[in-house]
Symmetry: C2
Subunit: 106 residues, 2 copies
């Protein structure tokens, strides 16, 4: 049986993105980061909706037009609507941050 917290290397020089499941209309990914953030000045602007849950570690997620990032702890989830510009301001440098992201078409 597979486990979401297995196969995480000690060193994570870049965000690790793995597709767990893909079907008509959606794609489920595991994302692992450790200290990574969206490069300064860059924003994600996606054609699909993204439902995301943080399962380990911690992160700061900022939406355009909001001054402060939302701080995510394990279990926190939210929906990022298509074309809602956002960025990851920070992820915990001291431990892996594990996310599940479900991308789907509007």
């Amino acid at each position: 049986m597979d486990n979401l917290f297995d196969g995480i290397p000690a060193e994570i020089p870049a965000e690790i993105l793995e597709v767990l499941l893909e079907a008509k209309n959606f794609r489920l990914e595991r994302i692992v980061s450790r200290g990574q953030a969206t490069p300064p000045g860059e924003w994600y602007d996606q054609d699909s909706h993204e439902w995301v849950v943080l399962l380990a570690g911690g992160a700061g997620l900022r939406f355009e037009g909001e001054s402060d990032p939302k701080e995510l702890h394990p279990g926190d989830f939210l929906l990022i609507p298509a074309h809602c510009r956002h960025r990851v301001e920070w992820t915990d440098p001291a431990q892996p941050t594990v996310w599940l992201a479900l991308h789907y078409q509007p």
Copy 2:
């Protein structure tokens, strides 16, 4: 922000099923149980595929034709194909067991 581990009552007399997200072709649920199991002799036989991950607690999941249940720990995930008969033999009676289940059409 919502959290998968919030809103869990101290007493769980019956499995709690909550739809988190529903879109064309899939439905995402949070399931919380505490000691519940599939009634003796009963099997789930579903028209849709189910990708499931256990996030807290523990459970025994048995597939028809297999003598022993698979023991699931936090982070364990697997795909239950449509019409693959299965049952939950047990869930941890000492703490809530929290699952995410993603049902989708073949």
